[in-house]
């Protein structure tokens, strides 16, 4: 068969075989390449995946960095906002770029009121800080510290200490400045107050040293006077008819007595030991002073006491307080040289606040007693000196010059103060401030006690109004129901109206109309077992036989501390309960 094939045909077949083989091989190669491609592709995807992971990680790092920057930024902003100064950034064109929170709140404005504006764009009341200083800082590229600038807001003037610092970039240009403005208004005020206090302290020291000196002299002088007076009395009592000699001796005695009074005043002024303070009703004191003075005043002088409250209780020394108002009123009428005049006394309650910079008084409630006259008034030049000892405008012999300094000394020991308002020819006004007695202050005048409270109904009678009102207030404070009166007859009437409603009678011993004992005896007819507290003054002698007959009676000896009442009442009511 093969032999019959032509050579050409054989060649074609051979070529065909070669092509077939090559095709098959190429197909296989393609398959393998495809396989490899797939594998490589897989690996490529892995790499892409790895890269993606890297990108994600980098992104996370970037995000973290951004968060950190944001946090730092917030911290910085917080530092700016809460720094104790007004902080603001200005550009080289003096445009406000940024201000801190304190700046906005101080001027009560919003950011849009100030940001991107310069002073010329701003309303007058917001042209705040000096641009002259800004320019100086920008030109000299040097910080400017503690420039005191004044800012007017409405009617208030504020003082600022302003620090300006140029902001420099890396090329040494100054594209703006940062300013720190610190409000020093209060510091200014404090400085002023401080100097005022210092002058007051100097005054007090001066007075104190004079007092020490005076008391030393006064003591010796008193002994000398005692001798003079004694001998003068004896001389004037010697039997005889030398009338003129007796007349001279009487003059010596009169002068000596005046000197003695003067010495008493000096000693009062310089006494350092604290008198034991008791509740004192200023209204009662001033009425006493009125009653005392009125008869001595010429009828042309009108004395008016504007009493706005029934009681004004302070903690103090009755005699000293009495002396204060006697002195002030005497001064007042003596200055009214014209025949006609008016002396007005006012008493009002007032409150001294924490930030009251005008006074050295500690904050709290006070009674302000003003004594006004239409006398000659005080020369303003003398106003500083009137409280100095021995200062007087009176003719020599008419006054000692100790009055007002003694008054000031007393008022100061009572933790009060005196203010004087005066215009020449218009009459001065003396205002005495004395601290109101607060209940929590009771602790101060006795050992601290836990008051024992109660809720019973008590009938209280004491002819001294101030004491009645003080005790009433105290008992109410403890929780008791109190019916009080200063009249023993009225007390008896009140008791008869509802004898069973009272749990206890509290009465003073010595009273007009009906004594405490008499009242108790009447009450006991209706309520034989009612507990009674009988308070007695220290001079009084208790009629022991009569009291011994009375059961359920406790004596409260004056002077007593308020806490005694609370424990005594508690004791009584406890024993009643146990019976």
């Amino acid at each position: 068969m093969i032999n019959y094939k032509s050579n050409d045909l054989s060649l074609v077949e051979q070529e065909n075989d070669i092509l077939k083989t090559k095709l098959r091989q190429l197909q296989n190669e393609l398959k393998m390449t495809q396989l490899e491609f797939n594998e490589t592709n897989q690996k490529y995807l892995e790499i892409v995946n790895q890269l993606e992971q890297k990108v994600i990680k980098k992104n996370e790092q970037l995000y973290h960095s951004q968060e950190l920057i944001k946090q730092k930024n917030d911290e910085l902003q917080m530092m700016l906002d809460y720094a104790p100064a007004l902080i603001f950034f200005k550009s080289a064109e003096l445009v406000y770029n940024q201000v801190n929170h304190k700046f906005l709140s101080f001027f009560k404005i919003s950011p849009s009121d100030i940001i991107n504006k310069k002073n010329t764009d701003l309303p007058d009341h917001l042209k705040l800080f000096s641009e002259t200083h800004d320019r100086q800082v920008l030109q000299q590229k040097k910080a400017l510290y503690q420039m005191i600038e004044c800012v007017q807001i409405n009617d208030d003037t504020y003082y600022f200490s302003v620090d300006r610092v140029p902001i420099a970039d890396s090329k040494g240009n100054v594209p703006g400045l940062i300013c720190f403005a610190k409000d020093v208004t209060e510091i200014n005020a404090i400085e002023q107050e401080k100097s005022l206090l210092q002058s007051q302290l100097r005054q007090a020291q001066k007075i104190e040293s004079l007092g020490t000196l005076a008391s030393g002299i006064a003591h010796d002088f008193n002994n000398i006077l005692a001798a003079i007076i004694g001998y003068a009395e004896m001389a004037s009592n010697i039997e005889g008819d030398d009338f003129s000699k007796k007349k001279y001796m009487d003059e010596v005695l009169k002068a000596s007595l005046r000197a003695k009074e003067l010495i008493r005043q000096i000693l009062t002024f310089s006494r350092k030991t604290e008198t034991s303070f008791k509740p004192v009703d200023l209204v009662a004191v001033i009425e006493e002073v009125n009653n005392f003075l009125r008869p001595t005043l010429p009828s042309s002088i009108d004395l008016v006491f504007n009493n706005n409250s029934d009681h004004a209780v302070i903690l103090g020394d009755h005699t000293q307080i009495h002396q204060v108002f006697m002195n002030l009123c005497t001064n007042a009428y003596q200055s009214m040289k014209s025949k006609k005049g008016k002396l007005i006394i006012d008493i009002i309650k007032t409150k001294i606040k924490e930030d009251d910079s005008l006074t050295t008084l500690s904050p709290g409630h006070y009674y302000k007693i003003s004594i006004k006259d239409n006398g000659v008034g005080i020369n303003p030049d003398n106003l500083d000196k009137i409280f100095e000892p021995y200062f007087t405008t009176k003719k020599s012999g008419e006054g000692t010059g100790l009055g007002l300094s003694v008054v000031l000394g007393i008022v100061n020991t009572h933790k009060g103060t005196i203010r004087v308002k005066s215009e020449l020819d218009k009459g001065p006004e003396f205002s005495v401030y004395l601290p109101k007695l607060e209940f929590h202050e009771l602790d101060k005048c006795s050992v601290p006690v836990n008051y024992i409270k109660g809720n019973q109904k008590i009938l209280l009678v004491d002819d001294e109004k101030s004491i009645a009102s003080l005790i009433t207030e105290f008992l109410c404070y403890l929780g008791y129901t109190v019916v009080s009166t200063s009249d023993s007859q009225e007390a008896w009437d009140l008791f008869q109206d509802a004898p069973d409603s009272y749990h206890l009678l509290m009465t003073d011993m010595t009273m007009p109309k009906m004594t405490g004992i008499e009242l108790i005896e009447k009450v006991r007819i209706l309520r034989p077992e009612i507990p009674v507290v009988l308070s007695s003054g220290y001079q009084e002698t208790i009629e022991e036989e009569r009291i011994n007959d009375l059961k359920n009676l406790k004596i409260l000896q004056k002077p007593y501390e308020l806490y005694h009442i609370s424990s005594l009442l508690n004791e009584i009511f406890q024993s009643v309960l146990s019976e």
């Binding site: 075989d17 070669i18 083989t21 090559k22 098959r24 091989q25 190429l26 296989n28 190669e29 398959k31 393998m32 396989l35 490899e36 594998e39 490589t40 690996k43 490529y44 892995e46 790499i47 790895q50």
Partner: protein
């Protein structure tokens, strides 16, 4: 003048103590990578990067006209992607194997570089037979082909005079070199190479085909295919006169049986050798030889 003939064990010991042994770690690592389908481009990159001449070679290839890259590739990992994972593995392996073929030029007839050229041609041919005829990646065959004649280098290095004498006998006669060696030494270079590879912890799939590549029909069944392909490519590369061949005659029975065993046609092998020729030409242009 008379060189003392060493026994197989003496030779193995000498090789073990020589610098030839020093490349075994890298070779093994590369072969492991090549055979591990899960090995990544990153692992390959790690192996390549610690070897600067190898990195240079791979980047040079990646940037050659053959791949026609528009931009310059400077990253090994990128090069691996573009050249192909397997190609890079083969290049890396070749570069490491080449170190075994470096040395003094002993003879006009035999030189290590001649043997290297033969080995590279064998590797290319083996790979293409696996891919185009068996549709397999043929990773092992590439390494096998590169290394199947290293026994000659060992003999040349450690028994140069005896090796030269054997060469003379081979050149003047019609016997293949391994037959000459068998007669003179009692073993041949294929056995020596195989034994050393075994000692070097090479896989059985590598050292056994080397041992049987002159007698593929006697090879154990599980490596017979590799041994047969090694045998065939030796024949083909000898015909094409690529470098040094240790063959002087072809046993037609073995040859025909080998072809038949794996359903290979001469025509197909001829076509593959054309491709090998093209590849070799390009490699020569890149300065491989």
């Amino acid at each position: 003048m008379n060189q003392k003939q060493m026994s197989l064990n003496e030779l193995k010991q000498a090789i073990h103590n020589s610098e030839l042994a020093s490349i075994k770690t890298v070779l093994l690592e590369l072969i492991r990578l090549i055979n591990d389908p899960s090995s990544s481009a990153k692992q390959l990159k790690d192996v390549v990067e610690i070897d600067p001449p190898l990195s240079t070679r791979i980047l040079k290839l990646a940037n050659s006209a053959y791949y026609g890259m528009a931009r310059r590739i400077t990253d090994i990992q990128e090069a691996i992607i573009w050249i192909g994972f397997d190609t890079v593995k083969h290049i890396a392996l070749s570069m490491k194997a080449l170190e075994l073929f470096m040395g003094n030029e002993l003879d006009i007839f035999f030189s290590r570089s001649n043997l290297w050229k033969f080995s590279v041609a064998s590797a290319l041919a083996g790979k293409l037979i696996y891919r185009r005829e068996f549709k397999e990646l043929g990773n092992d065959i590439y390494a096998l082909a590169l290394l199947h004649n290293i026994g000659l280098i060992m003999l040349e290095q450690f028994q140069p005079e005896i090796f030269k004498k054997n060469l003379m006998n081979f050149k003047s006669g019609t016997k293949n070199l391994n037959e000459v060696e068998q007669n003179a030494l009692g073993f041949d270079h294929a056995l020596l190479a195989s034994e050393v590879m075994r000692e070097w912890d090479f896989n059985e799939k590598l050292y056994l085909p080397v041992r049987f590549h002159h007698q593929p029909l006697l090879a154990p069944r599980h490596i017979r295919k590799e041994a047969t392909v090694l045998y065939l490519i030796d024949q083909l590369c000898t015909q094409k006169e690529y470098g040094f061949s240790d063959l002087a005659n072809t046993n037609q029975f073995t040859y025909k049986s080998s072809l038949k065993l794996y359903d290979l046609e001469e025509l197909a092998l001829e076509s593959i050798m054309e491709s090998v020729h093209e590849d070799l030409t390009r490699m020569e242009q890149l300065g491989w030889f």
